[in-house]
Amino acid sequence: MIQGLFVQGAQMALVLLLAPLLTGLVRKVKARLQRRRGPSPIQPYLDLKRLLGKEVVLAENASWLFRVAPYVIFAVTWVAAALVPTFATGLLFSWSGDLIAITALLGSARFVQALAAMDIGTSFGGIGASREVMIASLAEPAMLMIVLSVALVAGSTQLSTVADYMAFSAVGLRVSLALGLVAFIIVALAENARIPVDNPATHLELTMVHEAMVLEYSGRHLALIELAASLKLLLYVSVIACLFFPFGLAGGYALGLATWLVKLAVACVLLGVFEMSIAKMRVFRVPNFLGAALMLSLLGVLLLFVSGGM
């Protein structure tokens, strides 16, 4: 019990501490690919420190919702990240929410963020919120369909059980899992506001989504939102790692931790290379992109249903 509590606490602290580094590494990889030196990977930590030291400038008609939202967004994302097995399965509280609950928790965070964006009543806030919910209306069902196909293969929606199943049993190559992986990557790109759906590096661009929503935030509020965004990226990478590449999860905490760190580093490089090699899409091309993810994941689930009982 005590050890379980300790491992769970370590996991929560670890995801929180590593999340900004992940964001920093992706930026570094992108900078190197552009033949820039780029800021140091620990720059996001310095940014957070700087933001925490600044005063908050609130818009004149900001309501309580605007001030409470960053804490809610951060807390919900952190709880979701704490439920994901990163370096070990079978965490103490992993049964309190399954993959469906994690998806829905991220949905709660997005709901609050979109509302906070509309609180000031600026046109940028509205544009960001309305595009975010449009993207979510396709990405979230795709995500749930991926969850269903993984759950059908493993016979459980519990992330720990699924990871154990994927690590231990001879799953082999499954068409539906391959479809799920492709769809999951598309969803992860969209949910984390990465290229080609959104551009995390720009500001003042009519196509921006996530940045438009947080435009009015400053100081400690912005720090919490930025941290939550990094946590979300870490969460998606960890879920992909434990569902589709569960190597090392079973070999004790040290091996699990080492392989997890390697997986994170590989993901940073891959994400950086991918973002550099593709252009950002027009906002109304995004539904086609995400629609493909939805269809692929649905196809995966249908395959599993059709092949079931044969």
């Binding site: 925490l52 030291g53 600044k54 005063e55 400038v57 609130l58 818009a59 004149e60 008609n61 900001a62 309501s63 804490y71 809610v72 807390a75 919900v76 049964w95 309190s96 929410g97 399954d98 469906i100 609950a101 829905a104 928790l105 949905g107 709660s108 997005r110 709901f111 979109a114 509302l115 509309m118 609180d119 009543g121 600026t122 046109s123 806030g125 509205g126 919120a129 309305s130 919910v133 449009m134 209306s137 396709l138 069902p141 749930l144 369909m145 269903l148 759950a151 459980s156 929606t157 519990q158 059980t161 435009l215 009015e216 919490l224 109304f284 649905l298 689930v301 249908l302 079931g308 009982g309």
Partner: protein, 666 residues
Amino acid sequence: MIALALTCIVLLLCLAVAGAFAALSPSGRHIVYGGALAISAASLLVALFSLGAAPSVVTLPLGLPWTGAHFRLDPLAAFFLVVVGLGSAGSSLYALGHGRYEHEPQRVLPFYPVFLAGLNLVVVADDAFSFLFAWELMSLASWALVMSHHRETGNAHAGYVYIIMASFSGLALLLCFGLLAGPTGGYSFDAMRAAHPTPGIAALALVLALIGAGSKAGIVPLHAWLPLAHPAAPSHVSALMSGVMTKVAVYGFVRIAFDLLGPPAWWSGTMVLAVGGVTAVLGVLYALMEHDLKRLLAYHTVENIGIIFIGLGLALAFGANQLPVAAALGLTAALFHVFNHSVFKSLLFFGTGAVLTATGERDMDHLGGLIHRMPKTAFAFLVGCVAISALPPLNGFVSEWLTFQAILLHPDLPQWGLKLAIPADGALLALSAALAAACFVKAFGVTFLGRPRTRAAADAREVDSFSLAAMFGFAALCLLAGILPGAVIDLLAPVTQMLTGASMPTQLDVAWLSIVPVESARSSYNGLLVFLFIALSASLAALVVRRFAAHGQRRAPAWDCGFPDPRPETQYTGASFAQPIRRVFGAVVFRTRETVTMPPPGDIAPARIEKHISDPIWDTLYAPVAGAVWHLSLLLNHLQFLTIRRYLGFVFAALVILLLVLALWQ
């Protein structure tokens, strides 16, 4: 127990008579709504106590002389009596305050208790005659309430469409019961349970039940009356119609499909699943296109009815394959959603009613910024929005989570129809959940956030404490059912035991109050812990920020990328918020078109953007039927101006034809 429930109904009818006189005095609403509150609370207690009890039956010498009026309180009836009692107690409490703004109380007060009595009576009726009598009583009383503001534009039309659809639903149920009673005319439900109809008759009866109960509940394509009639009624009645009456309609379907018809056929599951999935997605898409708050909520009722029917379809499909445990899970999910929806939909209608009294506006594009003027209403409404969007840790998530668990349970059903329908419904359910969240970001964001768009919104005042008490009571229920779902599931166990022969494992015994639908390795969810974790980590973050971060805070004009525009018209409206989604989904479903007219350079005429949305179901189903009826009545109009000779000739001809038919028949 049944005697107590019937006493409550009789008291409600007495209250209606009192209401007719009470309406004459200015404080009459206290008598009617206070009385209704007390009686509903009593009926709620009776229902709660009889949930786990054995069925109690009574036969009264009323109704059809050779049958009598049968009433019965079994677990299924008790559960729906809980839903009715809770909804009507909340509405009566709300109306104690809200009723003050009623211009013509004499049009509301006498019918309100009758409506409540009708709702209760449907649930306890145990023969076809009393059921249909109660059903029509409920329809007519609610029709009278819909027509209470009949001079406002659109309300008369709404009442007209409603009464037609209500008659249609009554007719379908009448035929259904006729089939079930068989040639011997066994109209009591006991006789119907004992009679085993042939598969053909059972199939026809099930389709008729789906049409009859479904059109009252609002399944697509029979939903057309719902977004017209629910908004037309006073807000506390809208809450009852959307939150409770549609649930009573679901009760009608459950009673016929699970109890009276006996073991289901697998295709009935496919049919209900298809109807449920289509209803869920179309309902929420309609809601997204809407900018009238009450109509938006009414369309959302359509969506939630779809979700309930998905659960019922799963239960039928598993039941047909002799999987009682899985069927119990599907049924539990559906009934849990029945309870949840009755709570949060009532809450949302109360909030809309509060906005309506405070501003006189239902159109969200004329509102905005109400969170500053009505903070308490805004908070309660926000809780309702989060709950209906199926977001954890509130209750809407739990029932949808259970539905997903039921979908995942048996991918190996042998029938191809089910192999395709179940995963397709999973996708439709996921889509409707995501779209519902989008819709309620829009509803809350445009109405309560931002800057006020009109004078009325800028001058709004917080509403009375009775209304607030009702809203906060229901908001607390949303949270409680979300963090302690095991209690609700355990209350539902006798119902599923009665209808499917199995029930979910007892949930309150599970460690840490988790819910475990099948086994803990498969799936579990703990709303309480999730809620506590969120609260803890938010407090921790707040503490750390308070301790280590700078405390400075300054108010300044909005930044808005350096180009802030003080005019509230520059904000996103409901229509502009939904525009991306309209472009993605609307082009297919609603054939939406946008035409932009840009004046040539030098011309000072304003640029125009026009959007056209067509309602596919109204255009392809209702308009042709209405047109056909119109033409037919024009043709028959000639009959009205004939001489007496011709009329006598017609009578003679009819007689001859009937005799000929009779002769040929034998």
